[in-house]
Symmetry: C2
Subunit: 196 residues, 2 copies
Amino acid sequence: MDIEGCLLPEFWIAVARDTGIKDLELTTRDVESYDELMRFRIETLRKHGIRMPDIQRILGGVEPLAGAVEFLRWLRERHPVILLSDSYYELLQPFLSALEHPTIFCHHLEVDGDGYVSDYLLRQTDAKRKSIRAMGDLQFGTIAIGDAFNDVPMLQEADHGILYRPSNKVLDAVTEFPVAWDYEQLQSHVTAAAEA
Amino acid sequence: MDIEGCLLPEFWIAVARDTGIKDLELTTRDVESYDELMRFRIETLRKHGIRMPDIQRILGGVEPLAGAVEFLRWLRERHPVILLSDSYYELLQPFLSALEHPTIFCHHLEVDGDGYVSDYLLRQTDAKRKSIRAMGDLQFGTIAIGDAFNDVPMLQEADHGILYRPSNKVLDAVTEFPVAWDYEQLQSHVTAAAEA
């Protein structure tokens, strides 16, 4: 299951709102190259004197989406769960306790001696899809849940893909998966997929 | 990390003690073929009228090893953790809440309409080693922790293997890994491996 947009609000938007730095609201919808976007974010944080402890303090004040903790608990009582995110352990750290320490596969940010983010270190490219494939190779049936374009490859790779609250743009472009608009619907879709 | 012997007591021994059925104390040390052993256990349970709800009630009264919950919490605060067991989801179910719903890779027991265990369904052979290899393929560094002969392949496959409270027999035969005798030592070994 994806994290940002599915269990937690979008991190960069949260930091942008808290700091009032509009530039941090840019996403891959605005800047096509992820590398360019991340380098711009890193530069913007440094320009405004925002260090990792500041980011973690801001995110520490952000709540999981309403019902997310209960949904994740429900899921973990029934299935082995891995959260697959293209975000970073350092940004997720403030949420681990609220999410009750789930198993997360994501990436690392590099932080320099002054506390500034200095680089991003992708564990591998196409990480979500490869993780689903690895679970399939381990002879697990797989259910993937995501909301955004970067989730589509893992939804396609899984035995069952489910879209959770996709944007209109995603909804228009991706028509092959069932869609859930709240956690109750998501529970129904997961139950149906697990019994299929 | 392995479960039985590392975080929880041995399940079959617990059932044997509670029911007084000596035959359930047999292990792969006594019966070389795992298949033969499991078929014998299944037959023994049926002969004594022990059904899955009875087993789960017995195991529901068994505590995790002293300090295990705290150790697992410590580990999950620092690393993505997957518990790798050659046991069965149905036997682990009574412990999930006490262990705070970790992600577990193991196998399934088949239960018939009368509630008796009727078969065991291995998800795959050599499951622990293959799981470690899959994590390596996903570009994770890996630390494997186990206590028994069936853990040795995963300890060998991992970047770092650690033996936890092995029997003398294991200790004599397997000399290539650091050994921890309590959770404090295990923390030190994990920390050293993660920093290596």
